[in-house]
């Protein structure tokens, strides 16, 4: 492996930081320079992240692993790596960030420097969360990206931005501090003197304790996802955030919740996870239906998209709760899909907002005739969002529903109801906004997509298509990791199931080797 | 030894009685006088406990210097009696404090009475021996630090009280 490959993940994390520092040092007035620099750094990051895909092998286990001593006194190391679960999420992050910067090129017109800096820092934090292999490191990134997001919402958001920013911050912070305590307790009880994920996974935790630890972690992740009933921060944050913020928030941040379950909560506390799976499944389905129903009655475009996120992520959680290989693959895939389609939807809503400074559905109507290109893109993304076959959304939801069948047919049926509802609210919205006669005279002079906007949207649309058609290209990378996770959890939980018959010695041999445990 | 004990209880009674006056008086001037009496009684008790030097020092430093300063300030500022009627909240607070302190004192007193350390071995309790300990290296740091303490107090007091610097 080349030097670059050895340090690729670190480069990916710190390249945006370097960019942020460079921009922070530039003069306040040179705004264009700052924007260009931001774009250059984030695009470079994306390009480099593609190297990950190229070098990735379709096997389970961590790749591109990098370890360094950090705080040896506590067994904290700087450990990063990717596997199938995180690979695409990293790419998604690096992919969406330049687009978000490009998309808000003109809509952000004040304090540009800070905006770009925060965006890049946010990117670094998000990548860090996805690649961290050490609980401490994970937590650091997890919390660290709160701050830039908080500023993005609070400074460049809309009318109730401060309320939304503080709410966002406090909700997620409250959730994550409990996770921190859980980590500390785990560290103590495991007694391995290390925060390394693999090492901790290999150290068994008393199931009674696991329940508490799992709940603490799950709370943090559930808030982030957000799972019903912890979702109340999300509509506020999404609606009040600037376009770029919404895109990143929906596109990447929410994924961190689901990813947290897969990477942290389930492997560390498998027994508890299995025990709580039904609850999660039920909540997930409630989220699907609730989100869809609420979205149905939203008069505000952005709110509608926001609630659709609640529904979509319900699918993700359902797949995770089902805990079959197919379901997990579907969940990860659905996370990517949601990132692309909802990201794109937020872009589109933002572009409309830039033109009309309103997001009320009732303000629009018959836009198809005025801005045809825009309409076309919107339509395609909508189809992706409602899981139209041929688009990426379909693959994800299908996998999830199939994978969840063994888990609970009832829930699958109910979730399918959610699919139909999604079609309902999206299409109804499309109808009201684009079809019919232009009702509002203010809309008559709206310009169609600019070249820059097209440049933002085209990759998204293309990807939505591509992922719908060539899904195996993606899923085959996810599968080994998902499979390994399922196997590992089953191995761990089986002795517990048999525990009523008597103590069964845990399979020590396999646990001693972290790599083994991962598989 | 009989005489010692009698004197001890007499002066202990005087000390407590005058201490009660200290905290019971509304006129700070009387409190100050009562405190002087307490201090002198305690000095006598120091003497009875075999520390004549400390007894004398108590009078020199406390009664002869510190209390004079208090009286001076009382005279300089012409301090009046405290207002007669404290508010209800204050009275409640005082009641609570009184009760609390009483309970604690009873508890602590019981502890103190119960814990009798081993009887003292024979030792030379002269002032000379005490002075040797005072100037032993063990207390050297505290001793030298004391000079800084006094200096800091000096500077602080001047800074606070002097009209113009």
């Amino acid at each position: 492996m080349s030097v670059l490959n050895q340090h690729l993940l670190s480069v990916l994390i710190f390249l945006p930081v370097v960019g942020a520092v460079a921009i922070a040092l530039s003069r306040r007035e040179s705004e264009t320079l700052q924007k260009i620099l931001g774009l250059v750094f984030s695009t470079a990051g994306f390009a480099l992240s593609l190297l990950l895909v190229r070098g990735f092998q379709d096997v389970a286990g961590m790749q591109f692993v990098e370890r360094g001593r950090w705080i040896p006194a506590w067994g904290i190391s700087y450990a990063v790596g990717v596997d199938g679960l995180s690979l695409w999420l990293v790419i998604l992050t690096t992919f969406l960030t330049p687009l978000a910067l490009l998309g808000s090129w003109s809509s952000i017109d004040r304090r540009v420097k800070e905006f770009v800096v925060f965006m890049l820092l946010l990117e670094a934090g998000m990548i860090g969360v996805f690649v961290a292999l050490d609980l401490f490191l994970f937590y650091v990134f997890w919390e660290a990206m709160l701050i830039p997001m908080y500023f993005l919402i609070g400074i460049w958001g809309h009318e109730r931005r401060i309320y939304a920013a503080v709410k966002f911050f406090l909700f997620t912070f409250a959730g994550s501090v409990l996770m921190l305590v859980a980590f500390l307790v785990l560290y103590r009880t495991a007694g391995v003197g290390s925060f390394d994920l693999a090492v901790l996974v290999a150290a068994p935790v008393d199931p009674a304790l696991q329940v508490w630890l799992f709940l603490a972690c799950a709370l943090a992740f559930a808030i982030k996802v957000p799972m019903f009933p912890f979702h109340t921060w999300l509509p506020d944050a999404h609606v009040e955030a600037p376009t770029a913020g919404s895109v990143i928030l929906a596109g990447v941040l929410l994924k961190m919740g689901g990813y947290g379950f897969l990477r942290i909560a389930i492997p560390l506390f498998p027994e508890a996870a299995v025990r709580f799976a039904p609850l999660i499944g039920v909540l997930a389905v409630i989220g699907i239906i609730y989100g869809a129903l609420v979205a149905l009655v939203q008069p505000d475009l952005k709110k509608l998209v926001a609630y659709s996120s609640v529904a979509h992520l319900g699918f993700v959680m359902l797949g995770i709760a089902a805990f079959t290989t197919t379901g997990l693959v579907g969940s990860v895939y659905q996370m990517l899909n949601h990132g692309i389609s909802t990201g794109a939807l937020f872009f589109l809503v933002g572009m409309l907002y830039d033109r009309r400074h309103t997001r009320l559905i009732s303000e629009f109507g018959g836009l198809k005739a005025i801005i045809p290109w825009y309409t076309a893109v919107f339509l395609m993304i909508s189809l992706s969002s409602i899981a139209m076959p041929g688009f990426n959304g379909f693959v994800g939801e299908f996998l999830i529903l199939v994978g969840s069948w063994p888990f609970s047919p009832t829930l699958v049926v109910l979730a399918s109801l959610g699919v139909i509802l999604a079609a309902g609210y999206i299409l109804w919205m499309v109808k009201r906004v684009f079809y019919g006669e232009p009702t509002n005279p203010k809309n008559e002079k709206l310009p169609d997509l600019s070249l820059r906007e097209a440049a933002v949207l085209v990759p998204l649309v293309a990807l939505a298509f591509f992922m719908g058609v060539a899904s195996p290209l993606f899923t085959k990378r996810i599968e080994p990791a998902a499979d390994a996770l399922v196997v590992q959890v089953q191995e761990r939980t089986r002795p517990i199931a048999a525990a009523s018959l008597g103590p069964v010695a845990p399979p020590r041999a396999s646990r001693a080797d972290p790599a083994e445990a991962q598989r | 030894m009989m005489i010692d004990a009698v004197l001890f209880y007499v002066f202990a009674a005087i000390a407590v009685a005058s201490a009660v006056v200290v905290i019971g008086q509304r006129n700070p001037m009387y409190s100050a006088f009562a405190l002087v009496v307490t201090l002198c009684s305690v000095a006598v008790i120091f003497g009875l406990l075999g520390s004549p030097f400390i007894a004398v020092l108590q009078v020199i430093v406390y009664a002869g210097a510190i209390m004079v300063l208090f009286l001076f300030v009382l005279m300089l500022l012409n301090v009046k009696r405290e207002k007669d009627s404290p508010s209800r909240g204050q009275r409640t607070l005082s009641g609570v404090a009184l009760a609390l302190v009483t309970v604690l004192v009873l508890q602590a007193g019981a502890v103190l009475l119960r814990s009798r350390p081993t009887p003292a071995p024979d030792y030379d309790a002269s002032t000379f021996e005490m002075a040797k300990i005072l100037f032993s290296p063990h207390f050297l740091y505290a001793f030298e630090a004391t000079s800084i303490l006094i200096l800091a107090a000096l500077v602080g007091a001047v800074v606070l009280a002097k009209k113009e610097l």
Binding site: L146, R161, V166, L170, Y187 | V111, H138, A142, A145, A152
Partner: protein, 483 residues
């Protein structure tokens, strides 16, 4: 006798003390219309003392000297370096503030240096009386500093309240010392440790009573609830750089002594006092944070926050001395840097007797003073305990210690209260970054020395948040010498 008279451990304190004398004399002999070079002198002295600490440390430190009264073990060297650093930063913050408020007198610096002498003594004493004298030096000098703002009634009130509570707590401290002396026949910590480990039930009760009273005395100094009521008034009324020193230095020094007494000398009684400390920690965190929520005045808010932080630090005390030591030491470094920075920012903007104290005063700061706002934001984020700032690592360490000792509940209260604290810290950030400025920017230009101080604090806050390992290692070495 000469063997015992190894004065090297005292060299830093001696340097600082002598500097204080020089500053005082310089002030006395400077004509009325001229200004004494107090700040540079003080800074030189503090840095020289810092160098002395470094030399001592590179020489491997010293054990107990002066018949077990004082030591320059790693523990005290660590604290001495910390306290000298804090004092140096406080000195850097002072000149512009003092000039802006017409308080520019050498006495201020002299008192500051004397209080530092006290702090140094407090952390290096192995003996309760030396400790007490040191405590008093520190306190008395600070009473003077708190009341220095002679034209302002608030300042005098602050001095009075600080004094009354301080004197009251000293008496408690002393009675505690007396009782422990009654138990052990000595005030040396090592003798005490020995005596405490061989107690009968009756004398154990006595020792516990003494320990409790000692705890009350320390409780006042670290401003833990219910002994905190002075803190907000004093922090508000005192000149701001003095407040910075008070909040960072006093707390560090008092915790240094507290840990030495309770962690090592009285450790045999840990089973008895730990629940007490734990409950103190809980009420301190809860009351401090909830009270801070209600504050509109920045200095008061920071005061209550410092109360709350005393609670966080107390949580670590339930751990074994070694681990508690590490955590507390590291946290005090962090806390020192952050609080100096936070109060320093307020002080640096002071002009003509005014300073930014309300949220309205800092509104829109990010657009007018981006660097300053960023620095203050870093400090506040660090106080909240969010990663990549040192505050996070510090809290992590503290709560880790509590959890390791099996007190998960304490850590839970701690983190939940951190969430509460996020609300009031963020309010300031919101004002600076998300609100529009009110009126003209009439605050002072930040002087070069204050810039250095603030930059230093901010850099330390960030660096320790990202790469704490070296300081952690030092803290561990230092804490180990406590055992």
């Amino acid at each position: 006798m000469s063997g015992e008279l190894d004065l090297r451990p005292l060299v830093p304190a001696i340097i600082v003390g002598v500097t204080g004398l020089v500053v005082l004399l310089a002030q006395a002999f400077t004509p009325k219309d001229r200004r004494a070079p107090s700040a540079p002198l003080s800074l030189t002295g503090l840095l020289a003392a810092l160098a002395a600490v470094w030399l001592l440390a590179s020489g491997g430190g010293r054990g107990a000297v002066l018949a077990n009264a004082v030591s320059a073990d790693a523990y005290s060297l660590f604290f001495q370096a910390l306290l000298l650093g804090i004092a140096a930063v406080a000195v850097l913050l002072s000149p512009s503030y003092l000039r802006a408020n017409g308080l520019d007198r050498g006495e201020y610096y002299a008192l500051l240096l004397f209080s530092v002498v006290g702090m140094l003594g407090l952390v290096s004493s192995l003996e309760l009386v030396s400790m007490f004298v040191a405590l008093e030096i520190m306190s008395i000098a600070l009473y003077g500093m708190a009341g220095l703002y002679r034209s302002r009634m608030e300042s005098q009130e602050a001095a009075l309240k600080y004094f009354v509570t301080g004197a009251f707590s000293s008496a408690f401290f002393l009675y505690g010392v007396a009782l422990l002396y009654g138990v052990s026949g000595s005030t040396s910590l090592d003798r005490l440790e020995w005596a405490v480990s061989t107690l009968t039930t009756d004398s154990a009760a006595l020792a516990l009573l003494g320990a409790g009273m000692l705890l009350v005395g320390f409780g006042f100094k670290i401003a833990s609830v219910p002994f905190h009521m002075w803190a907000p008034d004093v922090y508000e009324g005192a000149p701001t750089p003095a407040t910075a020193l008070m909040s960072a230095g006093v707390k560090a020094a008092a915790f240094g002594a507290l840990l030495r007494v309770f962690g090592s000398a009285l450790h045999a009684l840990a089973g008895e006092w730990q629940p007490l400390v734990a409950s103190l920690a809980v009420i301190t965190m809860v009351v401090g944070n909830l009270a801070a929520l209600a504050q509109g005045n920045l200095k008061r808010m920071l005061a209550f926050s410092s109360v709350a932080h005393a609670g966080y630090v107390l949580t670590a005390l339930v751990a074994s001395p070694g681990q508690a030591g590490e955590a507390v030491l590291f946290y005090l470094v962090v806390y020192g840097a952050v609080n100096l920075g936070a109060f320093g920012t307020i002080a640096a903007l002071s002009r003509e007797g005014r300073e930014p104290l309300s949220l309205g005063d800092v509104a829109g700061m990010a657009e007018r003073r981006p660097a300053l706002a960023a620095a203050l934001a870093v400090f506040l984020v660090s106080l909240t305990g969010i990663p990549v700032t040192a505050g996070f690592v510090g809290k992590f360490y503290l709560f880790n210690a509590a959890v390791t000792a099996g007190w998960v509940g304490l850590a839970l209260v701690g983190v939940l209260m951190s969430v509460v604290s996020a609300y009031y810290y963020l309010r300031v950030v919101v004002a600076m970054y998300m609100r529009d400025p009110l009126g003209e920017d009439t605050w002072a230009r930040v002087s070069p020395s204050a810039t250095v101080a603030l930059a230093l604090s901010a850099v330390i806050t960030l660096v320790l948040g990202i790469y704490p390992a070296p300081v952690l290692t030092l803290a561990r070495i230092a804490a180990r010498s406590l055992l």
